[in-house]
């Protein structure tokens, strides 16, 4: 079945896009008919009895795999037989089967791969076109492919070609079709502002070669669209995502794609530059702040014209609404996921400017994390609440998760299940013990879906069965609760069909593994079998994206506002808060040694205050300054207790000058706003220390630059931590991440910071007396492609040094030592980003005499436009010089 099906499916893809009727994707083949392993479509299933592996064929520039395939002759149709009077000897005597040779390109040069878009008889290889276009970016640029396509087209127009006229016609037609598919499926390849080289080239080609043909018209139409979308022109009919509010990254994604905004209730993040600390208020664009009194409970299709106050409490939001709104957010992101951005070579290799290249994937990941962290904070946020109250919140999350299962939203479902199983939540044994038994069992049933056992088999199989099914109907034998729920649901609403939103992580892992395990080239040729393998996964994603169109959920602004207002804790904060709620009895790791005693205190206090509900008011307060006066009144009461509990547990206040709730809000924001926070951390770097720092006389001492720069961070905690060098680097990096990067929880995600560059400060180490106690830093921007030599060269230029970069070494100044950057390193990755990015440029000792004298003051003015001319002399007024430099760095 498989190969034929693959072809059918691919043909459908192609046809669909040729017809420009994307909606027909919905009706595409149900995944369950693609055998047990749907990932295999796109590849020949070698076990099919009608297919037999024959061998390999080689020719210059290509290796083919050849199969023999049994095909059935077109026997006379039944009706004719019937008419002719039933069975006759003829039916048996003629040959029913024939064996044909089929070859697939296994590996080839780029030219051969492009050439293979047409079959041996010149027809479009629809499977191949899809595989090629989905994966070619791993081995060629759009420009290269376009060039080859157009060259080939020109060749085929040449009447002197040895090929027959009809054949040339057919081949040209195939090339045109390929371009059609390309434009329809991957318009982003042509999105290259400001000059649009590929688009321009294609436009002039079609105008010249086939003016007013179907393709020519399409190219120009698409071209207009592409250019207009870059300018942010509205041209998309889908308004469902208008209230979608996520991180700047997601916003960026939405704004660069085809998303109009509905200003009346859009919640916007200000651009990251608006404040330097990753801290910002969402601005509610309400035209009218008078709260409406109409309760909107449960009405999914509320038209958004009435103005309704945001939910003030997590428990107040009906679980169906909650699940639907999560699904809406996930769908908006999922449909924008560009499958080839998930490819291992794009997503998991860091040396290819990944952040820009996989923005659609990063956005999905951020949303997933955002859900997880909201689970955690909703459960922990009121440290003094009773365990039974906490159990209610857990129970509510289980209800929401169950609704998500019905909706087949496996992304947020997994996020919630993971959130409930994070350590800070999971360890709250008392709270869990208050959870009703049936909820606990439901939770366990849902958690089983995502078991990692057997390579996440449960989840994979579920996706096969339900991926493109209309509604959820699969349960395990022991899933009694889910059985009931799904049954009940299907009785009520057989008419409703849902899409599916998968957990993207499984695909990302699979693609990473494929990329790792299978070589890019074989025998010097591009290994196209690897791309087929990758396409199996990409096609799966595409198929689900098509199926997801079945969701029709409207946005609900009051939900979005609640969502945005939730304060999010980082991992450490969450853990400490958790220890405060239920002290850790077993070990000293908790870090909340004092939390135990405080715990009782808070319990008592909570009892005397008599209540836990309204728990999210204090959270919401920091976010919305707009809500009703009734709400703000409550904030005012809640605020002090919030602050108190926070600061007494010592988790939110370390080394930060901001008020507690602001600081934690900062943390909250930046959590889901890594783009913003990392950007601001970059831009704030130069201001965090002064570029000129007086460091006494011995400027050559290795530790001096550090001593001079670190205290300037101005936080007492970090200064103190410098004193005792026991775990100093730790402490320093903490305080730094608090202030600038706003604590991304654990540092493991640091390579993924969305910055594509770092700003480092480089000082020169000079033995000469002329520096007179002044260290001068120059700030240099390093991108993720720069090798040591290039960085040294730009540092030399900024410092006005002449000579060869090879005569210098570059070292990062760390608290306890220097890190020498090797000559061939990629500096962007080599450096330690947990510390200040201070570097020393040092002449190699043996070259001291030859290069030493080449510092030319004259060249200073030319070196970098921002360099103050006189800065090499000791400035009389240090602070003035500092100001001057601050204004001018970069």
């Amino acid at each position: 079945m498989a190969p034929q099906l693959v072809r059918t499916l691919s043909a459908q893809f192609t046809d669909t896009f040729l017809k420009r009727s994307e909606s027909s994707l919905n009706s595409m083949v149900d995944l369950r008919c693609i055998s047990k392993y749907p990932w295999r479509f796109g590849e020949v299933n070698f076990k099919q009895p009608t297919w037999r592996y024959w061998g390999e064929e080689k020719c210059p520039g290509a290796i083919y795999t050849v199969y023999l395939k049994k095909v059935r002759y077109h026997s006379p149709s039944k009706s004719i037989i019937n008419v002719s009077g039933g069975e006759s000897d003829d039916d048996i005597s003629h040959l029913e089967w024939e064996t044909v040779r089929v070859r697939f390109i296994k590996a080839g040069s780029l030219e051969k791969l492009v050439g293979s878009l047409a079959s041996e008889v010149g027809e479009l290889e629809s499977t191949y076109v899809n595989v090629f276009l989905a994966t070619y970016r791993t081995f060629a640029s759009p420009k290269q492919v376009l060039n080859l396509l157009l060259e080939r087209y020109d060749e085929l127009r040449n009447p002197n070609s040895p090929m027959r006229e009809a054949m040339r016609d057919q081949n040209r037609k195939t090339l045109r079709q390929s371009i059609h598919v390309w434009l329809d499926q991957y318009p982003e390849d042509f999105q290259e502002p400001p000059n649009y080289p590929c688009l321009t080239q294609l436009e002039s080609f079609t105008s010249r070669v086939m003016p007013d043909s179907e393709l020519d018209q399409k190219v120009h139409r698409k071209g207009d669209l592409i250019r207009r979308s870059a300018k942010g022109g509205p041209h998309c009919s889908n308004a469902a995502g208008s209230t979608l509010k996520c991180s700047p990254l997601i916003n960026q994604l939405l704004s660069t794609s085809t998303m109009p905004t509905a200003p009346e209730f859009n919640v916007k993040s200000p651009p990251s530059a608006s404040n330097g600390k990753g801290y910002h208020h969402p601005q509610y664009h309400y035209t009218n702040l008078i709260p409406s009194r109409h309760p909107s409970a449960g009405n999914l299709t509320t038209t958004n014209h009435g103005i309704i106050p945001p939910y003030s409490d997590f428990l107040e939001i009906p679980e169906t609404i909650f699940a639907q709104q999560l699904t809406r957010m996930d769908y908006e992101l999922f449909k924008r996921v560009i499958p080839h951005q998930c490819l291992g070579s794009v997503w998991s290799r860091r040396d290819k400017g990944r952040d820009r290249d996989c923005v659609s994937v990063v956005a999905t990941v951020e949303q997933f994390n955002a859900v997880c962290y909201r689970v955690i904070s909703a459960i922990l946020m009121e440290p003094e609440a009773k365990s039974s109250a906490r159990a209610k919140i857990i129970s509510k999350w289980v209800d929401i998760a169950q609704e998500l299962r019905v909706l087949k939203n496996f992304s947020s479902l997994k996020a919630i299940i993971s959130g409930l199983q994070t350590n800070p939540v999971y360890r709250l044994k008392k709270a869990w013990s208050h959870l009703p038994r049936d909820k606990l069992e439901t939770f366990e049933e849902l958690a089983r879906i995502f078991s990692e056992d057997n390579n996440a088999l449960a989840q994979r199989e579920l996706l096969v069965r339900e991926g493109t099914a209309r509604f959820a109907d699969t349960v395990g034998e022991n899933d009694h609760h889910l059985q009931k729920v799904l049954q009940k649901h299907s009785e009520n609403s057989r008419a409703i069909s849902y899409g599916t939103i998968p957990y993207l992580g499984t695909f990302l892992t699979d693609l990473t593994m494929i990329d790792t395990a299978i070589p890019d080239t074989t025998e010097g040729l591009i290994n196209f079998d690897k791309r087929r393998k990758e396409f199996e996964v990409l096609a799966q994603i595409k198929l689900l994206q098509g199926a997801a169109k079945a969701y029709h959920i409207d946005g609900q602004p009051r939900f979005s506002q609640w969502w945005d207002s939730v304060l999010v804790l980082d991992e450490r904060e969450a853990f400490e808060l958790s220890c405060q709620i239920e002290p850790n009895l077993n070990s000293g790791i908790s870090g909340g040694g004092s939390a135990a005693s405080k715990d009782n205190k808070y319990k008592r206090k909570a009892n005397s205050l008599g209540g836990f509900h309204r728990k999210n008011d204090s959270i919401a307060s920091t976010g919305s300054s707009s809500a009703s006066s009734q709400l703000t009144g409550e904030h005012a009461e809640q605020q002090p207790s919030m602050c108190q509990s926070a600061s007494s547990s010592d988790i939110l206040s370390q080394s930060d000058p901001m008020p507690d709730h602001q600081q934690s809000r900062n943390g909250a924001r930046s959590k889901s706003h890594s783009a913003l926070s990392s950007a601001s951390s970059n831009s704030s770097l130069p201001s965090m220390d002064a570029s000129l720092a007086s460091s006494g006389n011995n400027t050559t001492s290795k530790s001096e630059p550090l001593g001079a720069s670190t205290p300037l961070k101005g936080s007492s905690a970090s200064t103190k931590s410098l004193g005792d060098h026991g775990s100093e680097s730790k402490a320093t990096s903490r305080s730094m991440s608090k202030t600038s990067v706003a604590s991304s929880g654990s540092a493991t995600d640091s390579p993924y910071r969305t910055s594509e560059f770092y700003i480092i400060r480089v000082s020169i180490e000079e033995a000469g007396p002329e520096t007179e106690g002044v260290i001068m830093y120059k700030s240099i921007m390093i991108g993720n492609h720069e090798k040591t030599k290039e960085v040294i060269r730009s540092a030399m230029m900024k410092h006005g040094l002449e000579g060869s970069p090879e005569n210098y070494t570059l070292s990062q100044v760390l608290p306890d030592k220097e890190l020498l950057i090797p000559e061939k390193a990629n500096v962007y990755y080599a450096i330690s980003t947990q510390h200040d990015l201070n570097f020393t440029l040092r002449e190699k000792s043996e070259d001291l005499n030859t290069v030493g004298g080449t510092v030319s003051r004259d060249s200073l003015g030319l070196g970098g436009e921002g360099t103050p001319r006189g800065s090499r002399r000791p400035p009389r007024d240090n602070s003035k010089a500092r100001r001057k430099l601050l204004g001018l760095v970069l």
């Binding site: 959870l435 892992t509 593994m513 991992e571 493991t748 993924y752 020498l820 950057i821 080599a830 450096i831």
Partner: protein, 184 residues
């Protein structure tokens, strides 16, 4: 046969997946399929005992930060990987280790610190001594430098972990059944 659940952790780009694939597959194979049940299972003989290793590799999902606790909860032994060519990947491990200890609620967790890509000597920025120091700073943690590409030391990681697990919890037929949701 005793089963061992091993979790491979570390920043993106350190070559985690290459270590896993190298160990599980041995050689790079063209018909590799990462989606089938036993893609990450391998039977090995360690000290005359047959062991079934199930390896959970977080490659590709490092950024789903909130899921790490779950991996850690389910793992028995941990491979912490950094790349000797990228300092920050080394620095990241301290926090990862702390997180593991928190989740496991003990100081004593079977663990191997791995400096990968040791074939790229000319790009090295993390010295071997740094790795050794960090490992000794973590109590009871082995250290090794490996290269998945050059096939250096890959098996040793997993063998060492198995031995560590055996030492801490000698084969005990009534070993705790790994159930996800023991809450009561």
């Amino acid at each position: 046969m005793r089963e061992y659940k091993i979790v491979v952790l570390g920043s993106g780009g350190v070559g985690k997946s290459a270590l896993t694939v190298q160990f599980v597959q041995g050689i790079f194979v063209e018909k590799y399929d990462p989606t089938i049940e036993d893609s990450y299972r391998k039977q090995v003989e360690v000290d005359n005992h047959q062991c079934m290793l199930e390896i959970l590799d977080t490659a590709g999902t490092e950024q789903f930060t909130a899921m790490r606790d779950l991996y850690m909860k389910n793992g028995q032994g941990f491979v912490l990987v950094y790349s000797i060519t990228a300092q920050s990947t080394f620095n990241d491990l301290q926090d990862l280790r702390e997180q593991i200890l928190r989740v496991k609620d003990t100081e004593d967790v079977p663990m191997v610190l791995v400096g990968n890509k040791c074939d790229l000597e000319e790009e090295r920025v993390v010295g071997k001594d740094q790795g050794l120091n960090l490992a000794s700073q973590f109590s009871n943690c082995s250290f090794m430098e490996t290269s998945a590409k050059a096939k250096i030391g890959v098996k040793d990681i997993f063998f060492d972990l198995v031995r560590q697990i055996n030492r801490r919890t000698p084969d005990n037929p009534q070993k705790k059944k790994k159930k996800r949701c023991v809450l009561l």
